[in-house]
Amino acid sequence: MKNQGTTNRPDNTAFDQQRLPAWQPVLSAGIVIPGFLLVGLAFIGIGVALFVTSRSIQVLENDYTGTGSSVHCSECVNPKTTPCTCQLNFSLSALFQGPVFLYYGLSNYFQNVRGYGSLRRPSSSCAPYQYDQNTTIAPCGSVANSMFNDTFTLYQLVNATRKTVPLDGKGIAWWTDYNIKFRNPPEVDGSLAAAFNGTVKPVNWPKPVYDLDPTNPANNGFLNQDFLVWMRTAALPDFWKLYRRITEGEYASGLPAGNYTLEIQYNYPVANFAGRKSVIFSNTSWMGGKNQFLGIAYLVTGSLCVVMSAVMLIVYAKFNSPDEDF
């Protein structure tokens, strides 16, 4: 029932009547020319900066798979020869600016395959590497099981003697991974091994998890830095993972020019998936690792925008009738 005093009359407000003040841009050449020009120039500027920065980054990559084009470590290709150690020699003609990062690279390795690591339901995330003869595997799951286990030692050849370059294994994993995400089980009687009592090592591992780094007892269990790095799933099938940083002693400012030997403990098989292994020395800048692409992309897009502004100028001159100059 309608009451007295109320009518059905709609409210005469700007909102109800769809008369809200509005900005009604009409895209036309005249307006966008300065925009294109500005964006183009800015992009070119950024592009140049990126390109120059990227050029300054040094990268040294050596494939040591031992098959195909790579000659290094070919002696270790035969899986029967285990353990196998091989050497990779290289020389630097100039100082390799520090801090230097040592990566290992795997290619054709699909760490991102569903079911392998990422995107599995937690309840079954470890299957089929959850139990080994009814004993819980720690750490469980196929990612952990297939952990990369080649090790590298770097020597500088000074006067024909091998001088070990100290490799810093601390802080190579994400801070959050180390401090928040992964936790060791509480130690029993001050022993980490006792804490892992009742579990077995993953099938492919030579050593149990509490014994991963014999040199540093703190770097064991789930908080082993190499383990943490491996557990962070790579996005693409060709990926690097940080192995060590060279930050200590005389090498803190970089690797001086000279000859070096990298001794590789060749354990990890890649032949069964036609993968390749490599080792990479790289330094970084504010924009991270070496990447030419972004700089070039900015340069190209910037130039394109400048060209477009020229085209728009022509269009504007040709088609804009004077009465549309508002």
Partner: protein, 1356 residues
Amino acid sequence: MGSLEVWSLIKQGWRRKPEQEDKVRRLISNLPYEDLRRKYQPNRQYANNSIKTTKYTVWSFIPMNLFEQFHRFANVYFVVIAMLNFVPIVNAFEPGVALIPICVILILTAIKDAWEDFRRYQADKQLNNMPCSIYSRKEKDFVSKCWKDVRVGDFVKVVCNEVIPADILLLHSSDPNGVCHIETANLDGETNLKQRQIVRGFAAPDGSFQPEYFSSIIYCEKPSNNLNRFKGYLDKPDKKKIGFGKENLLLRGCTVRNTDEAAGIVVYAGHETKAMLNNKGPRYKRSKLERKVNTDVLFCVALLFIMCLIGALGYFIWLETFPDIPPFVPPDSNNNYISPALSGFYMFFTMVILLQVLIPISLYVSIELIKVGQIFFITNDIDLYDEETDSRIQCRALNITEDLGQIKYIFSDKTGTLTENKMVFRRCSVMGIEYCHRENALRLGAQCETISDDEDIVFQKPKVPSRLQYRQKKGISSLRRSQSARTHMGARYQSEVFTITNEVAFSSPLETDVAPDRRLLRVTCDEKTQIQEWCRVSHCNGSASFMDFFLALAICNTVVVSTAMLPRQRVSRLQSLLKRMGSLSHIVNSFQSIPEKSSKSRSSLKDVKEEEAEDYSDSGSNNPSRRNSSASHHSEEERGTVSDPNGLCYEAESPDEAALVYAAKAYGFTLLARAPDRVTVRLPQGAVLSFEVLDTLAFDSTRKRMSVVVRHPITREVVIYTKGADSAIMELLDCHGRSNKRKKIASKTQRHLDLYASAGLRTLCIAKKVLSEQAYDDWASIRQEAESTIDNREELLMETAVHLETNLTLLGATGIEDRLQDDVPATIAALREAGIQVWVLTGDKNETAVNIAYSCRLFNQGDMVFTLNTDSRSILDCTLGEVRRYTAPSQSWSFQSIVGAVMPTESTGPTFGLVIEGRTLSMVFEAHLQMKLLELARHCRSVLCCRVTPLQKSAVVKLVRNKLKVMTLSIGDGANDVNMIQTADIGIGISGQEGMQAVMASDFAITHFKHLKKLLLVHGHWCYSRLAKMVIYFFYKNVMYVNLLFWYQFYCGFSGTAMIDYWLMIFFNLFFTSTPPIMFGIMDRDISAETLLGLPELYKTGQNSEFYKRATFWIVMLDAFYQSLVCFFIPYWTYQGSDIDIFTFGTPMNTVSLFTILLHLAIEIKSWTAIHWGFMVGSVLLYFIVALIFSAICINCNPPSNPYWIMENQMADPVFYLVCIITTVVALLPRYIIRVLQGTLALSPLVQARKLDRLSTEARDQQIKNWKSQRSPSEVPTNLVSPVDSFSNSFEQSFYNSSLEREIRISFPSCSLSFRLQFLFCTNIQYRSESTSFMKLFALCISSLKYCSFLDFTSY
């Protein structure tokens, strides 16, 4: 409700199977069983009166609502996908998470449903608890109870102005005549009163009603939804059967008026009442756009299938490439490896889950939400609000708003749609003499101008005999005052006196005041002197015909009389007064002897009147709803106007009748009262005549006439007064007349009728017949027999009516004008400019329709109008062929003018109009010449179909709709338009004078035809462009986002991995990018309303579906592919060959696609209001806030590499921003450049119009004018006087003058076909010049008609 009904049916069938099989309902009074338990109640199996329109109960809501929702295809798809998640072998995401979107959608819909249901529940509760009076045996009186307590078999009493709680068989009425008046406005919207009678034999002489003694058994038909069908009989204890019908039934929902109280027995209650059975929910229509969307969704399904297939094959091939099983290919949980082929097969389903978003399921929810918003804005448009009736536009169909923007054909009714359906008496012809009522015409002209300055309407009235003038003035003044009050109410004081506006339908002074024609008045005055003679002579001869004419006008109708001040109180006192005054002969005697006596009788009449008024004000103070009216009554008195008998209000079922009664009143023949068996008329001299009504032969469309049979109070003759369509009456005239005079009169009258019709007036013929006593008795017995039959009563009644209406004597004819509504010509012109073809389908006769068509500019003065009026098949065929050949040379441009966009057309040659009569139309349908007709019609600017039946109307609409595959709109106001309203894509009802049937059947209900302009040109355009763009955008959005995942499959071995965390993925569609498109669909305004109205041709973009074509879909798909490639590969190349982890890689992509998707929308948004900014900025902010919070708290949610702290790390990295910027720019550059080029080159009128919008108002108006003159130089603003006006103003001078209209008639001797080229020459020079070109064309036409042998230029 459906299942409920089923349930109750089952219950009933279970218990009372035998009863169910009966075709009748048997019921008895409940009173003897009053105290017994329900088990022993006799009528327990019938539904009680509590109603429940809710779908759910609190308990059944969740299961039933879910069940209902899963009926929809889209939801089923969603559920299947969700189930697929739980199949272990294909598990993709967290199954629980995958359920979130479907749950959100289900919950949203459920909340909407629950809210609607709750409102229904509240309404039900309110209704169920309304008070009513039920008779109780214990109390021996009616006791107050609630509606829900009413049961079948109860006795219920309703008092005046109360709403009837159930369908009640009327057994008692306070009215001495045993009638009860009800207003059915709640049921069908008709505000006139309807009369109901108590069942025969139940009229208690002392006026008391004792239900205890009711011992009959009632047999009536099963509940049905037919409001006009009800019959049954009472089985009395003495084995007597009394029949009853719909005139004895009080319907639930109606209001009792003019009757102090009425009572009866409930026959149907609750859901079985006719009102409830007629109450259907809103209709569901699928719009054209939605149909298109569905096909495109199928394309998406195909796309999804292809992509999944690629994924499955890719996985298979990828697995095959490995020489050995690599460590990263996981075995299943039992450490077994599945064969690559089988894995590939499973991968197909994994892909389906991963890429499911490609099917835009949320699109349907979004569309629904958008339509709700659009309807909100349409109903809130103040321009579509009607002040007078205080009503907005009603959107009854909720899901076809965008169809309003694509209409190509409009089918309009004429009466009440183009015209006001307010009938004004204009002319009449009595005994072959025309009275043109020039004063009346002048007055109408004056009134039109000053109608708003209510009180000071002044018009010059010629001198008329003093007494009459005096009375006339008085009558007019009192009436005008009531009118002025109404105008005030409408405009300003509506709130104060709203009761009157809502309950009382006054007629405007235009209709009620008729200034009598001087000549005719003189004749009637002269006639008065003959009255004595007339009274003495038993047989009335020709000299009394004038009296008879006006008596017929006053009597021969079904008008209900009420006073102006208390309009719903019927003047029944008058009758008791008459009875008190003594016999009729007494009146006649007093009248015959001395005039003073008659004045005395008048004064006594007046006394009674005043007494009556006091009565009413007393009752008014008791009754709150009457208080206002009585207050206004008092105010009237203060102003010094005493309500005299002239202050009568007539309420007629058709406005024509009222107009005639008012006309009769103007000449002094005032209808004072009408009862079922008696009508009372006051003659000009003041004498009151009371006619005994012997029978009323109601109007029906087959007979096209109505009659009353009365006994003349003086001559005691049985007289039949008939009025009806001229065709119907002329055939029935007494042809074997004694004199030539009658024939002469008939032919003269016929000519007048033709003239009236050509002036656009509605014509009626009035005739009478005197019946001998014997003949009447014979007929009456047959009639009685017919009435008492139960089967095919209608046919029998009609037969008897036809039998009686023969050998009539023509009295005269009337011409009633149906005035055009405001702005109809402008609206039609604008619609036509918008590329819409307007067809008018009317039941009126040819000439009337054609003239209305001219006056509303459906046909222009320069148009060539073809009239097809034949019923011979071959002729029609050849005519169509000829006409086509004739129009062939101009085909090219006329075709362009219909479909062409903006090219200057219409510069050459005249345009064509087509008039088709109903019988020709039926011939077309029978002979399968539809396509020819359509082809012809397409060459014509407008098509006018006259004398068409409702069925033909819908057939025409169906023909155009199906054969031309265009969007059609029907607009009408009456029951006869319901068919066509339901047939068209959009049905629009005009809530006007003719009740609500049209509105009930319509999708949109408006109050004036002119509202159509804004509804279509502005709201239609907006709704269509908004929705079309939104839908396109939605497809784009989903494809673009899903493709990112698809490209990633090439880098994860087609294993169905997503590089974006699934929570963020789900939120992306659910929250981050869902609201801007919805807001866009509701609020974006590409062109302002003013420009759209100023440039109707902009509407053509919608007609041609330019915003959403098949190509548009594929272009946007290409764009989506391009953008997704950019959004994937720029980050890919940036991060390639680094130690990036999967979610760090996915986050920039997610962010980039958010920016791209939103900025893509920003390019499409044409007007940025604060709300737009709010939604866009809000979405971006929401994304960052949610992503940051999510990555901060989600420590363990997607192991082993989870999104913890990813967003934070990314936002600290400059490369992230650099990637975001360049990717967005590169992705949107092509679209942006194309839009800029479109804006610069301004090829489309839309862009030009948008540029106009940026101007100031004056500059814009100027530009619009320039634009129009540029675009269509030939479209000269023809602000000519409408032909009807000019015609009727100069009617008398040019009556026989051929200068105004010349008709060229071509006759075909071979086929007796004449098609007319009608051409109105006006004094305008322009048309002179055109007339020569017309003659040329005409010559061309002649040459093409080879067998044309006879040319005849006729003129009046």
